[in-house]
């Protein structure tokens, strides 16, 4: 079997993220089915018009995935060069900048979500106002929490880069970016659900 191809995939970090992805998918599946059941069980379902800003937030999040990939590519190249020239990794260069940008975009996205909430609140739609708004807040809040987890992971990677002790944090970066992209996909799914069902 090809060892190189296997190296990142067989790293526990990556497996862990995949398992985590499974968990998160399952729990959001549970929420979705709860939503479907809830829609059927009561006659009190009122349509909620999504705040426009959600679409802008979506763009932010997609952009963050792009910057992350750019950063990752760049770092891989740097690490390859470092390996060739046999020098320790320096905590600098565009790769780090890309990663920082990704974190910033992620935080911007969450800020945008908060603005969306305030928009709803201004329209008198709170958590308990009606089932549709229940699910809006539940979905967005939980996704936001999970995304903060991604931000933390990237922070950890940057810290590892600064330390630069136990070699390049390849596995960690791979795992973190896998998780980050999953957050994108999850959000697109949620947006679809909210846009169609709410």
């Amino acid at each position: 079997m090809d060892t190189l191809k296997l190296s990142p995939p067989s790293s526990p970090a990556r497996t862990g993220v995949w398992v985590g992805i499974a968990t998160i998918t399952l729990s959001f599946a549970a929420y979705t089915s709860a939503m479907v059941v809830r829609q059927g069980s009561g006659a009190d379902w009122q349509h909620v018009a999504l705040p426009r800003i959600l679409y802008f937030n979506t763009l932010l999040l997609l952009a963050s995935s792009a910057t992350l990939e750019a950063g990752r590519r760049r770092l891989e190249v740097d690490w390859a060069l470092e390996a060739l020239e046999g020098r320790a990794g320096a905590f600098s260069g565009p790769g780090v900048a890309w990663l920082s940008a990704t974190m910033a975009l992620g935080l911007l996205f969450i800020a945008g979500q908060v603005i969306a909430w305030r928009g709803l609140a201004a329209r008198g739609l709170f958590l308990a106002t009606n089932p549709a708004s229940d699910f809006f807040y539940v979905f967005t809040a939980l996704h936001g929490l999970h995304l903060l987890g991604g931000v933390t992971a990237l922070g950890y990677v940057l810290a590892r880069l600064r330390a630069a002790s136990a070699g390049p944090p390849r596995a960690a970066l791979g795992a973190a970016s896998l998780y980050w992209h999953f957050m994108d996909v999850l959000w697109l799914y949620l947006l679809l659900v909210l846009a169609t069902r709410l």
Partner: protein
Amino acid sequence: MPDTPAPPAVGLRETVEKIRVLKHVPPTGFLRTHVFSLDHKVIGKQYLDLALVAVLTGMVLSWLMRFHLAYPDVAIPGLGRLAPTRAAGGVMTPELYLSLMTMHGTIMVFFVLTTAPFAGFGNFVLPIQVGAEDMAFPRFNMMSFWVTLVAFLVLLAAFFVPDGPPLSGWTAYAPLSAIGKDAGPGQGGGQTLWALSIAIFCVGQLLGALNFIATTLDLRARGMTFMRMPYSTWAWFITAVIGLIAFSVLLPACILLILDRVAGTSFFIPAGLVVSDRLQPHSGGSPLLWQHLFWFFGHPEVYIAILPGFGIISHILPVFARKPLLGPKVAVACMAAIAFLSYTVWGHHMFLSGMNPLSATLFSVPTLIITIPATIMVLLWIGTVYGGRLRLTTACLFCLGFISVFVSGGISGFFLAQPSIDTYLHGTYFVVGHFHFVMGVAAMFGIFAGTYFWFPKMYGRMMNETLGKIHFTLTLIGVYATFMPMHYLGLAGNVRRYSAFTDDYMKGSLPLHRFITAAALFTGAVQLIFLVNLVWSRLRGAKAPDNPWQATSLEWSVPSPPPFDNFGGKHPVVAHGPDEYGRTGPEGDFVMQAAPTAGGTA
């Protein structure tokens, strides 16, 4: 899963391992060594100690309940002082009884039957059995334990809120659990704490399951192919997968329940409910939604409790029968099949919940089918006993006891799996007897077997076999005397979750209830023998050799107790299957998995 050699990439693997070894230096200082330890062995012991505290708590609660059932009017000394409002003068009020019942069920199911066999033994043994230095994510592993501990403390806190602990049972059916204090004493703060505790618990177990899966998939030693993994490891791995799914669903359910309680949402509360003369400000929710979400977790939870037992028995029985388990592949396949089927049967808890009667049949069939792999497992164990040279150590006896009680508990499932009979037995003591046998006693026997078996490895000392055998014999008799009569009560239509049997047709059951109470108290008292043995052996037990049982799996090839990194910096290479017994090897009638000589595999 394909039977592929796990560690293919040598060069990279070495570097990866170097990094891991670098990171894996033993901690210094008491806190990092014994309290906030990243060592899976310490964490495993911590889980087991937590389970021990929990099981003692739950047992005391059950004594109080049983005493009250037998003598409803007799005051329990001191109880009046413990619960002045709920047991004025020492006589238990109905709400106190139901609270004890709720806490007993919750503590036992979550904090004993989930923590001990899975998180406890799994944490200690699994990494060694697969030849790893630790779990894949030691920090998550540590978090997993401390989060679980927090969950336990949050649950216990319910005892101290003014309103008292909740009384809605461990299943916390909505809307009783969702409405709030109008529904009765304990349904205020106590119930909220319950939901919070379970939500936290889910997080802890998810972190644990994550570790078990990643460790089994990625950290197996060289040569440790899937089919060379001991059955216990298989069971923990499969359990981790079940747990991952189950707790990923229970967590959302608990979050929604908390929102219904504190944020005024209506996920589980329909419109037009009048509780204690108050029209509830909710509308449109669905109580069945809670039942579906809960039982989608709840039935697999039964297997989370029992599958590790399957693995432990399948692992220990060959050791003491001195012959391989009958049909290794079949055993693994059965465990996998049970795991899969466990997700197709949750509806059998809801035959009478007003669900479509047709779907009842659809849930009944897989429930009955699940008995096929279970029966096969039993036959494999019995067939393994056949023709063996049975060394009847305490651990072995508990394995045999496990088979006996599992059969007894499993067979009563035949009745409850059929809607047409369940419609008579559903809410009766028949069910209580059934699940206590199959997930209570059987799982406990698995835990006992594991304890007597792995104790030497954990603490470097042997447990006292004489005490152990007395403990086993009396326990076996005790549990049968306690739980078998519950089936008779159930047949007679004796209803469960009653704090007293005032109804005319149930008064007749009182004598039998007194017998059960006596048996329960006896069985409980017998456990003191186990406690004494546990404590005494931990301090004064005979020093344990590395491999006291002449077993083959990797944990017996390392010192007792094992060093911090389990293998002293070496990396074991596995050349043999898990139960190479009954054949001539270098050290006797067995061949260690890590034995250097290349030989046939199981």
